[in-house]
Symmetry: C3
Subunit: 196 residues, 3 copies
């Protein structure tokens, strides 16, 4: 299934939300001065040293995708959205977590091949059939989606992917999918990037 | 199933276990002094500058839950214990890993609805029946829990959850469960928080 | 199955790839000096203070294992390779992600017991049979490995393991396995360590 207007992205960057106060400005200026001084000293120019430790900057970034798929079950490639979030984060080395925020949906990594997606659908329906809905106690609550909660456990809630040199560190065929098992309403996917 | 006396928590905070030596005390005092000086300078008050880089403090925190469930199979909501660990960690942006430390148990995220838990139990027993125990070679070793090792693979070993603004970044129905498939003895769950 | 010549490891350490410039050398030397000064001051010896914030150093490390298993399906213990990568990383507190980079293979944690591995193989073949290959649309593309893509979803793509005090923080029987479902060719596993 192709990506369309169904995906919306909202970002909540949390990369050093420090208030730019007078104090911080003074510290930044002093830091630049200290580096200059240390560089000068390294060239044999003496002066009042202001030694300084260079800090690998830990960063984090959060994005939320909103999806609204028109069918009960579907698979949607969200790899590009995850790439966009990683790029925005500025993280060069780290991890990105991508998870369904709803408990009748999955995020998983596999092949972008429509025949395989058909096979998944047939197979999951065999392992955890939707009908008869009365076979599940969960459906006594008025729901008809118990099977979706079972299918999601087979396919998984989340993936964690390595970021190396600023990119998703992927094998040749790895693609990230959102797996919907109880669609026709708004759902969300969380993308959380942490690293340096 | 309700949480009771079955859960015990032990913390091993690793948030900067630096020994409080004279050196560290001196550094801390100097750091406070430097900030004061920088603030004074920002207001136009001159003095010997002590430039300082503010460091996003990478933190980690480890907790262990000990559980002893009275039945062979059970599901236990451990969301509050994970929340407690996240709060203790002081992490505002990061990830928390929650995993079963035993290979016949799961940690997973789904709905806190007893009908659904019954459905999971019936379904897992159909996918990987306990009896006859002789159908599994693993049970030739004297064990009778081969089915538990299979069930745990369907439900998963671990979850990784985003922490945003100091809280578990959860969708509306997400709850964290310990899934026991070979109970009636002490088992442990690990909670590891990392972030800033 | 025993580990043999089938596993090759390549490291891509990304632990502070900072160029060792004159500036960096000067900063390092100045930092050592500042600590000495602060220590001296703590003992009542006065001098020009060089206050310094001790920075928890965020580290990351990436390793790739290359495997070439002689059979279609197999399980291989890769725990020692993951331990080696964690040791090389220098990370004391953090997380390690281990994932198959191919979509017809798994990385999972369970028992190193050959009877259980036999049980997994029989069980997965029952849940997602290899033959007849014509039952899967994915195999219309010329492949015969659709079943491998299904089996891998049951066993999972990846594990995330806590690192505490420089070691894999494992329960008594946890071991990391590579699960091959379409072997007889080169495949890779990624190991990504992040932490402090």
């Amino acid at each position: 299934m192709r990506r369309g207007a169904v995906v919306q992205m909202r970002d909540a960057s949390t990369r050093r939300k420090r208030p730019t106060s007078h104090v911080d400005n003074a510290i930044s200026a002093a830091l630049r001065a200290a580096r200059t001084t240390a560089a000068a000293e390294a060239r044999g120019v003496s002066g009042g040293a202001h030694p300084m430790l260079r800090c690998p900057d830990m960063k984090s970034h959060t994005s939320y995708l909103t999806l609204n798929l028109p069918t009960r079950r579907a698979f949607l490639n969200i790899t590009q959205e995850v790439r966009d979030a990683v790029e925005k984060s500025g993280v060069r080395e780290g991890l990105v977590l991508v998870n369904a925020m709803h408990i009748s949906a999955s995020v998983f990594i596999n092949d972008d091949e429509s025949g395989l997606h058909h096979d998944y659908d047939v197979w999951l329906e065999k392992l955890a059939p939707h009908a008869p809905t009365s076979q599940y106690r969960h459906n006594d609550t008025g729901e008809d989606n118990a099977d979706a909660h079972l299918k999601r456990q087979v396919m998984g809630r989340e993936v964690v992917v390595a970021i190396t040199a600023g990119k998703l560190d992927f094998g040749p065929w790895e693609q990230i999918f959102y797996g919907e098992f109880d669609g026709r309403r708004k759902k969300r996917v969380l993308i959380k990037v942490i690293g340096e």
